[in-house]
Symmetry: C2
Amino acid sequence: MNVTPQRIAIYRALVESTAHPSPEMLFNEVSRSMPSLSLATIYKTLETLEGIGLVREIPVTGDRKRFDAIVENHHHLICNACGSVGDYHDDALDQLPPRRRLGGFIPQSVSVNISGLCPSCRDGNSH
Amino acid sequence: MNVTPQRIAIYRALVESTAHPSPEMLFNEVSRSMPSLSLATIYKTLETLEGIGLVREIPVTGDRKRFDAIVENHHHLICNACGSVGDYHDDALDQLPPRRRLGGFIPQSVSVNISGLCPSCRDGNSH
DNA sequence: GTAGTTGCAAATCTTTTGCGCGACA
DNA sequence: TGTCGCGCAAAAGATTTGCAACTAC
């Protein structure tokens, strides 16, 4: 696997972002410093990075995929009003993979989404 | 809001299904007994039912939306191999909404996804 | 009778794919 | 010089929308 400027820039943007960006958000961000970048490259690169375990798609409702650089155990705060996704750390949640029987299902990872209102939307800011 | 045969059939199919169906899966199911049904009606009805709190979209990765009739507190087992979605009940998880500070975020609900291998895929069945 | 709903078809939007060119080993 | 990755444009899918006919109430 080659290390290319596009892959570096896309991965770096993902690491530095707190927004859990969609492919288009990443495209808008990275394009600024790399105007020739294409959206198709974003998609291909995300797939590649996901394949080697540097990146994951996060489970959210809504129209677009959202991605996260895999840094450590953490979960997500999802705003029901504006759709923003924030990080949430809690040691208790990291111990989740459950003691109870799962009927033959083999657990590999746990993802917790806490839905609600982000501070901005709570205060009545229009999106 | 009117009670129509389409709405009854779609909601009923969702309640009776354990598959957490996508709109197309619902369409395939309900069409069998209601051949005139259109996929657009599935989408419109799901949005309507979601609006009145009978149905929710569940947060999953992948290409299609998945829906759930809201019955009680429960969470989901998601197969990394075949994409199937099963239910998982655990009282401990129902108490989750966290004690820790959320930095101004107002929690309203919690969704837990346990990803792994379903019994069928564990045993090496090809999807 | 009227407002709300359906089914169809077209439109929109997101994501994927095919392919020729260029970069790098 | 062969392989891999990029950008472009087209394709594929999923979801949404506009609208005329129809139905629940």
